[in-house]
């Protein structure tokens, strides 16, 4: 069954408290190579059957209306994963 994967990230200019807390914890555990962390969301929409252009358009629409909050989030990636 194919899945449409949607990645949503906080807008770059929006504060991401989650990422901020994690980037603070990393060096305490010795992971010193990372200067920033931003935490997003991944959604997997399962499709019964083939992913048509129409279904993909629906997914894009759903991603931009329901899955993300356009006030504070961007949909950064939509892709189809087979199987």
């Amino acid at each position: 069954m194919p899945r449409i994967v949607v990645d949503v990230m906080p807008k770059p200019e929006i504060l991401d408290p989650q990422g901020k807390a994690i980037v603070g914890a990393l060096p305490r555990l010795g992971f010193t190579s990372f200067s920033a962390v931003r935490q997003g969301k991944r959604f997997e929409l399962t499709v019964d059957g083939e992913v048509t252009d129409e279904i993909l358009a629906q997914a894009r629409n759903a991603a931009e209306t329901l899955l993300s909050n356009p006030v504070i989030e961007d949909v950064v990636n939509i892709e189809v994963v087979e199987g």
């Binding site: 929006i14 504060l15 408290p17």
Partner: protein, 768 residues
């Protein structure tokens, strides 16, 4: 610590002086032409871009109170010396401070976050809590409780669920993470708030008298430090655009108009500030809210020695592309500014490091009388800080009494079309009681309040659904405070002067009902556009009513907030003056809960019931809004308050519940459901004494009334006290634990289980 210096085409003071003709976007920033001209006059030249940013946010309605100031003065003018007796800090600081005895003080304030909560309900409501809590911290206090008066559109409107879910979880998500018990508030549904929900947030803090901190920058050479979260593009223009103009949701924005809250950062900031206070290493402190650094620097400077020098490139940025003007306007949350003597710099830094809070030293206090801000050594702001912070424009806006008011007031409920078929038979009255308590406004608000932590800190003695929230302040003596917020937009619509006094009366009564002596007032005045003369009249009348009422009751207004432009299109909300009253207990162990639990105790109704159904919940259920609201008899409120406080202190009553929206019917049901204990009630004598029918007895919203449960052993003492004070009191029943019902004798009996189900089912039906 990193410092980011961007090279922009910086509009310096020198450049501004040389280029008087340069076009500036003052209109886009919300300034009127007369205001821009005033700025040019004040400076003797055109403002720089950074100065324009500062003036535009600080002269916005939200920050300058330019339309409301002339009216708000009454709160100061109508205060007597006697009323100020307990006031340690009055209006004008971040929050008022009230002496509650034994060297303890309490600071409290209510603020609005209406527009941001409509745009992004979760973050809007969350940052509303964050902002008011920082006001409390900046007085030197430990925040100890919050409460949230909320108003939404019709419960069944498709957009209401979005707002309720977002706003309630935002308040919970932020407040719960701060470890602040949420002890009360209101949840009201009315279609007038459909496009404009009201999200007011109250916080209360506790401190010792000697710990009071003020927002002033004194001591030439003292250092100015910004600490907490980094500065990003959050809410740029939020203060002036979001709060000053009717909201237009589709307007694109280069910068996010929404601020995102980080409650963890705020919790750390609270603990870190309290440690700073304990170590006495800050001279002055100011939270950053609306208008961010513009507000903090200009207010600190103008309240202190008058001058400050700041290097703006020292500000730690989350977004390095911000221009100086944007940095000055940014409303990034969880930031504070403090003034520290050079000797205390090391101690300050040690506390920051312990809590892993970022900070940067921006500059120092001067005695030049000027606020000078540089960008990489080049002067971009050179202003008299008083002209930014305190001497903004003041408007005496025209106002007039709406012509429609006379016909509305003439349309009283009793005898109206909607009153036809008034319930009269026992069956009809029983059905009416059930209908009332399953209406959206009278229904149980557990669905909302169960999402708030009411236990944290271990000092909560009463919380919703009791009449007021009560927290202990001193664990040894039991000294504590009680707070209630109230407003009734329908009453205020019918008569804004009386409506404000009624809001005050109810909050005062609630506090007294809990057993506390009312001491002080905070208010959040939510209105439509001040540019509409009829709205302005509602505002003026409300302020006059509240100021007069405070004088009559002897409780001063200590601070608060005005929220204007609450309207969608040309339609304003009902005038909604939310009034918070704070009272004090010598020992909170004496608090009175709102429900009875002891079998056999006598139930008394205090006060007189009249035919007062104008603006009532019952009229609302029948779709009627007209006539006059109930009369606010503040002398009676005061007498009732004294009875309730004395009875609580001397152990004469074990339960007390005020009568307000929904009248006696609602109060009887709520007092029975509180501890699931039934009662037998007889109302014939009441109807006869007050000359009313049974329906009026149950549903009228006459003021200055309360229900109390009196132990048999105390009945004589209690009734003697009421008699001696000449206050109407009538034994209307007895607590009957075995009945498991609310039994109005000779008329109807409603099982508690049925009432509970009707009362509990409403909010889950719409929101689960």
């Amino acid at each position: 610590m990193t410092e980011v210096t961007q090279k922009f085409n910086i509009d310096t003071v020198e450049h501004a002086a040389q280029t008087p003709e340069q076009e500036l976007p003052w209109a886009e920033l919300g300034l009127k032409d007369t205001e821009f001209e005033e700025i040019v006059k004040l400076l003797g030249r055109r403002p720089t871009a950074a100065e324009l940013a500062m003036y535009s946010v600080m002269w916005s309605e939200h920050c300058s109170y330019k339309s409301s100031k002339v009216h708000l003065r009454q709160f100061g003018e109508k205060v007597t010396e006697k009323m100020k007796e307990h006031l340690l800090v009055g209006i004008g600081e971040n929050a008022g401070v009230v002496d509650i005895g034994d060297g303890w003080a309490v600071t409290f304030k209510v603020e609005s976050h209406n527009h941001p909560s409509f745009v992004e309900p979760y973050q809007g409501a969350a940052t509303g809590v964050g902002g008011i809590v920082r006001d409390i911290i900046s007085m030197g206090a430990r925040p100890v409780a919050v409460m949230d008066p909320l108003r939404f559109g019709a419960i069944d409107h498709p957009d209401t669920a979005r707002l309720v879910h977002g706003i309630v979880s935002g308040i919970g998500g932020y407040g719960n993470s701060l470890g602040l018990p949420n002890i009360g508030g209101e949840v009201v549904f009315d279609s007038v708030y459909q496009g404009n929900p009201l999200v007011n947030a109250l916080a209360v803090g506790v401190l010792r008298h000697e710990d009071i901190r003020l927002a002033n920058a004194s001591g030439v050479g003292n250092k100015v430090v910004l600490f907490g979260a980094r500065t990003g593009g959050d809410g740029i223009g939020g203060a002036s655009v979001l709060a000053s103009e009717s909201f237009d949701a589709t307007k694109p924005s280069k910068r996010p108009a929404v601020q995102v809250g980080d409650p963890f950062a705020e919790k750390v900031l609270i603990e870190c500030c309290l440690e700073l206070f304990k170590a006495s290493v800050v001279e002055g402190i100011q939270d950053l809210g609306a208008a961010g650094i513009s507000c903090a620097t200009s207010e600190l400077a103008s309240n202190g020695d008058g001058g400050m020098h700041v290097e703006l490139t020292k500000v730690l940025l989350r977004d390095p592309s911000l221009t100086p003007g944007e940095i000055l306007m940014s409303e990034s949350q969880e930031r504070m500014m403090a003034v520290v003597t050079p000797e205390n710099v090391a101690a300050f830094e040690a506390i920051m490091d312990k809590w892993a809070v970022e900070y940067s030293w921006l500059g120092e206090v001067t005695d030049t009388g000027r606020l000078v801000i540089e960008w990489d050594g080049e002067k971009i702001v050179d202003v008299d800080p008083r002209t930014v912070a305190h001497e903004g424009p003041v408007y005496n806006r025209p106002y007039n009494r709406p012509e429609w008011l006379d016909s509305i007031q003439a349309d009283s409920f009793t005898g109206s079309v909607q009153d036809a078929g008034r319930p009269q038979t026992p069956e009809e009255l029983a059905a009416a009681v059930v209908e009332l308590i399953s209406s959206p406004n009278m229904a149980s608000k557990d669905w909302v309040t169960n999402q708030y932590d009411r236990y944290v800190q271990g000092n909560t003695a009463l919380a919703f659904p009791d009449d007021a929230g009560v927290v202990r302040v001193d664990e040894e003596t039991g000294l504590g405070v009680s707070i209630s917020t109230d407003a009734n937009g329908r009453y205020s619509y019918l008569d804004p002067y009386e409506g404000a006094r009624l809001a005050l009366a109810e909050a005062y009564r609630n506090v007294a009902t809990s057993g506390a002596k009312p001491l002080a007032v905070t208010d959040c005045l939510n209105f439509g556009s001040p540019e509409d003369p009829e709205v302005m009249w509602q505002f003026a009348e409300s302020v006059r009513g509240l100021a007069d009422g405070c004088q009559e009751l002897g409780v001063p207004v200590t601070g608060g907030n005005v929220s204007l432009y609450n309207q969608t299109g040309g339609v304003a909300i009902h005038p909604t003056p939310v009034v918070g009253v704070l009272g004090v207990f010598d020992d909170v162990a004496r608090r009175t809960p709102s429900g009875w639990a002891e079998d056999g105790q006598a139930i008394y109704l205090l006060g007189t019931t009249r035919d007062e159904l104008g603006g009532s919940e019952w009229a609302n259920l029948r779709g009627h809004l007209g006539g006059k609201p109930p009369v606010a008899d503040l002398a009676a409120e005061k007498a009732l308050g004294e009875i309730l406080v004395n009875a609580s202190r001397d152990g004469m009553i074990d339960a007390a519940h005020d009568l307000s929206e929904g009248g006696l019917a609602a109060a009887l049901v709520e007092a029975s459901l509180r501890f699931n204990t039934g009662a037998r009630i007889g109302l014939d004598e009441l109807c006869e004494r007050d000359g009313i029918d049974l329906f009026t007895a149950l549903f009228s919203e006459s003021q200055a009334r309360a229900l109390v449960a009196v132990p048999r052993s105390e009945e004589i003492r209690f009734t003697d006290m009421c008699t001696a004070r000449g206050f109407a009191h009538l034994r209307i029943g007895v607590v009957d634990a075995a009945s498991e019902a609310l039994d109005v004798q000779g008329r109807f009996s409603l099982p508690l289980a049925q009432l509970r189900e009707a009362n509990d089912a409403v909010l889950p039906k719409y929101f689960d």
